[in-house]
Amino acid sequence: MKLLIKGGRVINPETSFDKIADVLAEDGKIVAVGDGLSAEGAEVYDASGKIVAPGLVDMHVHLREPGQEAKEDFVSGTCAAAAGGYTTVATMPNTKPVVDTAALVRSLKQREAEAAKVHVAIIGALTKGQQGEELAELGDMLAAGAVAFSDDGHFDQSAKVMLNAMDYLHAFGDYLIINHEEETSLCKDGVMNEGHRSALLGLKGRPTVAEDIAVARDVLLAEYAGAHVHIAHISSGRSVDIVRRAKQRGVKVTAEVTPQHLTLTDECVELWDSSTKINPPLRSQADCEACLAGLKDGTIDAVVTDHSPHAVEEKDREYMYAPSGFPGLETAVSVMLTDVCGKGLLDIPTLIAKMSYEPAKLLHLPCGRLSEGAPADITVIDPKLEWTVDAKEFYTRGSHSPFVGRRLTGKPVLTVVDGRIVMQDGKIRD
């Protein structure tokens, strides 16, 4: 099976390649990138005027299996991923039950083989039941195929447990511990950023200092243990600064940020609309700008969606009681192109790197490259396509997104996984 993608702007962050070129895939691998390629019997896709990127990698997604299929499952979630231009998603373990054993990791790899439209990488729990008390069987989960570990959803309060995790994992290699950084006692009952807006609305706040304390602790622990910590969905400007300084002195710390934390602030919180309720919360304009600066100068390594779908009836209720999170897979590329690159705040090759090559490298995945011999995971983006976000068109089961109703410019139009087209023009292929 051959696929020839002709005449697009090919961006390969691995080699800093950025030229009009053709890409030829055969038997699931990229076999050539260059000018005037042709191949007997190949399916030809005309990519002129479009961006040809390595298949996008989202290292922070909640596919909700097992146990929360009313929110999302491997079919709906990976269709959403394909629609959004992603060829690999890494799914978080805060499910029911929590993915904290090799058996559960294997069962999810099985589900990937049966049901997934794109590659699914499995992130295992760091501690049993994500309780932050005893280490989960990290070595066994690695052997079963887990790529990283996280107790995402909350912060592990015990510094000793975190240090143990870092020390114990050290023997197995550079596997990420991905930490949700919000010190618990400072966020109790908090549902939005603590700031001017929360003061007026009366909603309990989650202050930036809660995130800063947690980030600082984990950076110091990683430095002490010589371990690698990855800061999930960074949102506070001061936290970005803590990571920047740590990187400068050689600490193995990396970080990711979401489109929402780069482009939205707590000023858009409305009491009747729970779509803006996320953890960590939407912050201030200054925090957005600090995150963007961190993304540009390399402090922040990856752009992730934190795709967190919930059932409509769970989300459609009082702001205080609605669960946190919204689906992001189908809007992330377009939001970044429109509100970040489109405003001249970031160049497109850097964005592509942060959404493919960099996260793939962090998870030790072979994808994220448009180099000969690499897996034929490819995303084609039409940077000029205008569209309006409509939750009824989503493949995800989630509905409430603060981007619903937005007019955006730029959209993935072709998603190729292992050389096979899985999405074209927004439609998933069977």
Partner: protein
């Protein structure tokens, strides 16, 4: 009735953030007429005959619920009370479904109290009857703020230029948040004071509000002092050491009252913790309008019902 008045017909009363000064003025003027009705021997006018009102209370309340209920009844409306403890709410019915049920019975207005901020606004987007917010979390309590303005104006003759001190637990207070909105719109100078643990940290970014950590600074020269209730039921540990110490350092007593203007008016939304945030001497003293607030509350709620349900054609 003045034909030039703005019509509030069909307007949801969710908070004073979305009331213009002219709309607030209309409510205050209408409340004056309503207060006369309360003083009549036979307190019944047919203004809202044929209208039905449901009060939907998810939190306990004596004065607010009774005040809304009597206001509706004095105007001839049928009023039915639903409280959380005695309804399908205890069976786990969602707010949306409860609202659908109430709407389907054909009511014209729903008066709602809920412990979640924004519950009233959410309701206004789910069902069609007019929603009157009787308190949502720490967000808003518009009728209480309006009756405060009404009480102040009855005593002072005007609102603009008055210095008001709001003392105590602003953090958990929906009354304070609505007061701040309403008082600034009517040209008053708002000073807030209390222990820093009970003040929203970023309220200082809001224009036209003066924040003090010691109550004396706010009280000095004040025309009006509103004392907020210490909401023990909402307190998590450690916001202040003891009620005893609070009373000594932050409570309004006769000594501190002397710092204010001689004719200062003392308000409290109730229920009071006498001896904590306010001394009994001040609560029942000559400057106190705390009992009068309760009566004015009925007048304000009659005004709101009349204006949102009929546009204020009659009374």
């Amino acid at each position: 009735m003045d034909k030039n008045r703005i019509s509030l017909r069909g307007k949801n009363v969710l908070g004073l953030a979305d009331f213009s000064p002219e709309e607030i003025r209309t409510v205050l003027e209408t409340a004056k007429e309503m207060k006369n009705i309360i003083h009549r021997d036979i307190k019944k006018v047919p203004a809202l005959r044929g209208k039905s009102i449901v009060t939907l209370f998810y939190e306990p309340s004596t004065r607010t619920r009774t005040s809304f209920e009597l206001a509706g009844k004095y105007l001839g409306a049928d009023v039915v009370n639903i409280t959380a403890g005695t309804s399908s709410i205890v069976k786990g019915e969602s707010l949306r479904d409860t609202l659908y049920t109430v709407e389907a019975m054909g009511v014209d207005a729903i008066v709602m109290r809920h412990k979640a901020d924004g519950a009233a606004e959410y309701a206004s987007r789910v069902v069609s009857p007019v929603i009157l917010n009787a308190g949502d979390g720490a967000h808003a309590h518009p009728s209480q703020a309006l009756l405060n303005l009404f009480t102040i104006e009855q005593h002072k003759g005007h609102l603009e230029g008055l210095k008001v001190a709001i003392l105590g637990d602003v953090l958990h207070s929906r009354v304070a948040r609505s007061d701040i909105q309403g008082m600034r719109k009517m040209g008053m100078e708002v000073h807030i004071a209390g222990p820093r643990t009970l003040l929203p940290r970023y309220l200082c970014e809001e224009p036209g509000i003066f924040i003090h950590e010691r109550v004396e600074e706010a009280i000095r020269g004040a025309d009006v002092i509103e004392v907020l209730r210490i909401q023990l039921e909402r307190m998590q540990g450690g916001l202040f050491p003891t009620t005893r110490e609070y009373a000594r350092i932050f409570g309004l007593n006769g000594e501190r009252l002397k710092l204010a203007k001689d004719d200062v008016l003392v308000l409290h939304p109730g229920p009071m913790n006498k001896g904590w945030e306010i001394s009994p001497h001040v609560a029942y003293g000559d400057n106190s309008a705390i009992q009068e607030e309760v009566q004015n509350g009925v007048a304000i709620r009659m005004a709101l019902f009349t204006l949102v349900l009929t546009g204020g054609r009659q009374a």
